[in-house]
């Protein structure tokens, strides 16, 4: 089963996605995409690390180019999150730049081949309107396109609001 978990900042999506992944096939892999830049990032990463502690996740830190990531034994993969991955692919030195969208999608498709269950966490960054500078707009559009492709492709899509899961799409019973 492939599940896309969608939500805003501090919506409870990570906690929800982890619980979902824990119910998937063992072994559990956690692909962390967040590049720490400062103390605030370190704290956020630490908070997520604590949440995963003792849940049995193998953590793989991967900031770009998921396509070449090799998973040794198929199980459940939790990829968190596309918002960071998109920023890394678009803006970091090792990133795919203009080819970010395809790099992200090819990466997710490669993971699909290497697991039984896949949970992908992605971000709602689309709700504050306004005018953006070009780089930010490119980021928003890239993430939107990736979200839309995966929501179409995956069997299940869940939006998390205030920690409450809202089923947007699920397999026919």
């Amino acid at each position: 089963m492939r599940t896309l978990v969608y939500g805003g900042a501090a919506s409870g999506k990570s906690e929800y996605a982890e619980a979902l992944a824990c119910a998937g096939a063992a072994p559990l892999y956690y692909i962390a995409t967040m590049m720490p830049f400062n103390d605030e990032d370190e704290q956020r990463i630490e908070r997520h690390r604590l949440m995963r502690a003792e849940k049995g996740f193998h953590t793989l830190e991967r900031y770009t180019n998921l396509k070449d990531l090799k998973i040794h034994e198929p199980g459940c993969i939790l990829l968190e999150c596309l918002g960071n991955l998109a920023a890394n692919e678009l803006f970091s030195e090792q990133g795919a730049g203009k080819n970010a969208k395809n790099a992200i999608l090819d990466g997710v498709f490669a993971l699909e081949e290497q697991c039984h269950d896949l949970v992908v966490v992605t971000n709602n960054v689309f709700g504050d309107g306004g005018n953006y500078e070009d780089g930010t707009l490119e980021y928003i559009l890239t993430l939107a396109e990736v979200n839309n492709v995966l929501a179409q492709r995956f069997e299940r899509v869940i939006e998390v609001v205030c920690g409450i899961p809202i089923v947007m799409k699920e397999p026919a019973k």
Binding site: G8, A9, A10, E40, V125, G127, V161, C162, I164
Partner: protein, 116 residues
Amino acid sequence: MVLVIGGLAAGKREYVKNTFGYSDADMADAVLDGRPVLYNLQDLTAKTDKSEEELLPLLLQKDVVICNETGNGIVPVDKAERIARELTGRLCIQLAAHAEKVVRVVCGIPQVLKES
């Protein structure tokens, strides 16, 4: 406690007035006082010096807490805004967990996310 969330000017206060019978006089704008309804929780978190743990019990005493959805945009450049946004989201998760009812108002239409 009822938690009502939604975008800016989505019709959250109108919904609360019409559904639960409160008036403007019952509604406190981002201040904690004796009134039964608090709205603009996101403004309260932006100016408070209280922690999540300190705010939560005070908010749970309210009949209704109304909050704008603030997490659905690009990460703010300003650190204080980021911290307030994080606090708003964390509080809403806690409030939603304790609430007997959680409603998201979209274009004035209530969508019940939780009801016990």
